[in-house]
Amino acid sequence: MAIAGLLVHTLPEDLAAVEAEIRRMPEMTTYGIHQDQYIVVVAEVPSGRMEKRVDAIKDIEGVLTIYTTYVTLEDELLGD
């Protein structure tokens, strides 16, 4: 299981809708809207599916881009 910290950069007019959409995704936890442009999200996804889940966010109308601030693959690399 990989855990990633994401900043979702969103057009201001779509912020609320995008945040609501992400909240509906079971593997995502949101940490609020910040500076009128970012949504802080933590993804907990098996690394094999990370890209698909992040892509699903990218596809939401109003999302400009996603910045990854952190990824840990500790479980997979150390096998604990």
């Binding site: 299981m1 855990i3 990633a4 910290g5 994401l6 900043l7 950069h9 201001p12 936890t29 940490y31 910040h34 500076q35 009128d36 442009q37 970012y38 802080v40 999200v41 933590v42 993804a43 907990e44 690394s47 094999g48 990370m50 890209e51 698909k52 992040v54 892509d55 400009l64 881009t65 996603i66 910045y67 990854t68 601030t69 952190y70 990824v71 840990t72 693959l73 500790e74 690399l77 150390l78």
Partner: protein, 751 residues
């Protein structure tokens, strides 16, 4: 309070995002507990040069996060954050390999090095030093490039020293040198935060430099009055945040830039006081001219005439020019769309012209600024002189005074350096194809995928009568197929060294872990090579990269590059320092050529600006005429083919294709076709489409969208199974010798 480890990791992930925004978060301090230690470094990918922190646990790298103290303020793009699996890829080469009976087989270091040296010595004995060479990379460390260049130029007296930055940055170098007299940008990333107009041309910043795009978007967010102009034939993601997206007919950029200058002088939006004091006007024959001559030269570029050539409506050119000139601070950003052209140097000049004409230079937010493609193209290759015509710190081989200065610094007899520049990249690979180059050492680059018109040069690599020694990390890199010997280097954070990014910022990549198997730091491989070749041991007295760094600081010291104050100790302590930096207490330089900012200018210098790269202290506005592409579309080949990157892959994909998340995101190359063209040809998403140029043909799956303008198709170049460079053209800029990857003519049909 009891929380599970998973909860803990989640808070850590969230806190990293908060820290990246500069918002305090309670769990931030807890981050340090989950790894044994953090090592400071720089991302391995693009030229943005983001600072990273590499987390090590049980002697393994387990995580990478953004360095909050570097310019990226803790942010990383997805590629950067996912670097860990690449280190542990199953394709890592961990012992030397020698080709025997057509197959690469394991060998000892001694056996491999002896073979390499025997082949080089044999070639030199039979055909002279002109028959050997070195081909390096903007991904090698600064110390590695400096050393390789020194071994060949000073040790072997061979100037056949090149590198892949010739394919990406050479035109920017040519542009800066002809306009300002010295290479590298005047400004820095800080200018993004102060600009009120961002003029982006020939750069898909959002996909190629995502962290800078973030900074640009944040600037616009902070001040809605900031204007963003994106000039690009594709409607990229970068164009989505622009106030003006200006698509145009590929290859007409020079006309558009001259058209903007025409509007600026006609509407008197120029800064006459600035250019009359600090600018020389010069025609294409290097003859001094007047401002009035320039106005006359621009008569050929009325917005109406430019419209006929480029398809950009005359009013749009007028509007762009007005926004550019009237903003309080304009910053231009460009990349390969400008550099990879047969008149790339001229295009670079024309961008700087606009800044010199309007005085948008040398003030916070006002600067021309080229973006780099690789993590150490500026650093390693441009600054330390890792090309066939250069010596370290902006010195030139053809200038006797420069050679003599380097001879003194390197402890060589006077006039002992070879005064004849070597072969530039395309000439070098052509010489290999023609059987003139017999032995080549290639470091940290993948030319069998990255050169244009590949078939021609791959045939050269495949010749049996030459010898290629490759220092390469991954067994599946295309060039490995053609190597006679492969030497395994320590990768990225497995050895220490310095990267220099687009904004003249140098930062240390710390050593986090030991390299696997028999891999060695490249510095040690190169020193071993030199000693076995019989190079004077006094020329290569280095145990590690830190020893070389010390010498490089001294070599740069008498020049305006001046790295003297950037000590190893400071690099360990700080997250990057921008040269020039003459003393240990100097903070580094944000803005060059301005008194009070640039330490190369005496404090009592009488004027505010001093373009000290030019004899008269004035920068040059060049009269550069419009020139189209080497291969324009015609009736037989009616489309323009352009190539580039996608956000999740980098260069030839040897690294990013090893990350499952990235590989699945873009598993293979595709062709982007405009909705309008697709409709005409009956092409739908996912259909097979045949592209055929004068060089080769290939089938790609179609992606139909409104990104490309009609008449243009785009293919990304990361895919080793669909080598788009077999189709691209190897025409080069006469000045910079950089190939025109961005434009060639192609047929497009449903396959």
């Amino acid at each position: 309070m009891g929380i599970s480890r998973r909860e803990f990791l989640k808070y850590t992930a969230a806190s990293s995002a908060f820290m990246a925004m500069g918002v305090p978060f309670a769990m931030a301090a807890g981050q340090n507990k989950q790894v044994d230690h953090w090592v400071k470094g720089v991302c391995r990918f693009c030229g943005t040069g983001c600072g990273v922190m590499v987390g090590v646990k049980n002697k393994k790298v387990v995580t990478v996060k953004g360095d909050p103290n570097n310019h990226n303020a803790g942010f990383l793009c997805l590629k950067g954050a996912l670097m860990v699996p690449i280190i542990y890829a199953k394709e890592r080469i961990t012992q030397p390999l020698i080709r025997k009976n057509g197959k690469l087989t394991p060998a000892s270091w001694d056996e491999a090095m002896e073979l390499v040296v025997a082949k080089f010595k044999d070639a030199i004995a039979k055909y002279g030093v002109k028959s050997v060479g070195y081909y390096g990379s903007g991904q090698a460390l600064t110390e590695e490039t400096y050393l390789a260049s020194k071994i060949f130029k000073a040790g072997l007296k061979c100037n056949n020293v090149e590198g892949n930055p010739r394919l990406c940055m050479a035109s920017a170098v040519g542009g800066y040198v002809t306009t300002f007299g010295k290479d590298e940008p005047c400004g820095s990333y800080d200018d993004i935060d102060a600009a009120t107009c961002l003029f982006i041309i020939g750069s898909n910043t959002s996909e190629c430099h995502p962290i800078l795009f973030k900074r640009i978007a944040a600037r616009k967010q902070a001040d809605p009055n900031v204007k963003i102009i994106v000039v690009d034939p594709r409607r990229t993601n970068t164009a989505r945040i622009a106030d003006m997206h200006v698509p145009f007919k590929p290859g007409t950029d020079l006309a558009i830039l001259n058209g903007m200058a025409h509007v600026i002088v006609q509407e008197e939006l120029d800064d006459y006081r600035f250019h009359s004091k600090y600018v020389t006007f010069m025609d294409n024959n290097k003859q001094k001219k007047t401002f009035e001559d320039y106005v006359k030269f621009l008569e050929d570029y009325t917005p109406e005439k430019v419209e006929q050539l480029s398809g950009v409506p005359a009013d749009t050119t007028r509007k762009m020019a007005k926004i550019f000139a009237e903003s309080s601070a304009t910053m231009s950003l460009w990349c390969m769309g400008i550099n990879q052209r047969i008149r790339g140097v001229w295009a670079n000049n024309l961008i700087s012209n606009l800044h010199l004409l309007t005085g948008h230079i040398g003030k916070p937010g006002a600067t021309p600024f080229s973006l780099t493609g690789q993590p150490n193209a500026c650093g390693g290759v441009r600054d330390t002189g890792g090309l066939c015509h250069m010596l370290p710190a902006g010195r030139l081989i053809k200038k006797k005074a420069h050679r003599n200065e380097m001879e003194k610094l390197w402890g060589l007899p006077q006039d002992s350096l070879n005064p004849k520049p070597g072969l530039h990249t395309i000439a070098m690979w052509s010489a290999l194809a023609e059987g003139k180059l017999k032995a080549l050492l290639v470091l940290c680059t993948n030319p069998a995928q990255s050169l244009p018109n590949l078939d021609k040069y791959r045939q050269g690599m495949a010749r049996k009568d030459n010898f290629i020694a490759l220092i390469e990390t991954f067994s599946d890199a295309e060039t490995v197929k053609y190597a006679d010997v492969v030497l395994p280097p320590a990768y990225w954070c497995e050895r220490e060294g310095v990267f220099g990014c687009s904004e003249r910022r140098y930062a240390l990549v710390g050593k986090a872990i030991d390299p696997p198997g028999q891999c060695k730091p490249t510095v040690n491989i190169l020193v071993d090579f030199a000693l076995r070749m019989g190079v004077d041991p006094k020329l290569v007295p280095y145990k590690n990269s830190a020893d070389i760094w010390k010498e490089w600081r001294a070599v740069s010291r008498p020049t305006p590059y001046n790295f003297w104050g950037i000590t190893r100790e400071r690099l360990r302590r700080e997250s990057g320092i921008r040269w020039p930096c003459p003393t240990e207490d100097h903070p580094g330089t944000r803005i060059r050529y301005v008194r009070g900012e640039d330490p190369n200018i005496p404090k009592d210098y009488k004027k505010k600006y001093f373009f000290y790269g030019k004899p008269d202290g004035r920068a040059v506005i060049w009269f550069r005429p419009y020139k189209g592409a080497a291969e324009e579309p015609d009736q037989t080949y009616p489309f323009v083919l352009t190539t580039g990157r996608v956000i999740d892959h980098w260069h030839t994909g040897t690294m990013t294709m090893k990350v499952p998340e990235l590989r699945r995101s873009f598993p293979k190359a595709y062709v982007e076709v405009s909705t309008e063209d697709a409709k005409k040809m009956g092409i739908h998403n996912g259909d097979n489409v045949l592209l055929e140029t004068r060089r080769d043909k290939m089938v790609f799956q179609a992606r139909v969208s409104d990104v490309c303008r009609p008449g243009l198709v785009f293919v990304p170049w990361f895919d080793a199974h669909l080598l788009i460079n077999k189709l691209t053209k190897d025409a080069i800029d006469k000045g910079s010798k950089q190939p025109e990857f961005k434009i060639c003519a192609t047929k497009v049909s449903k396959a």
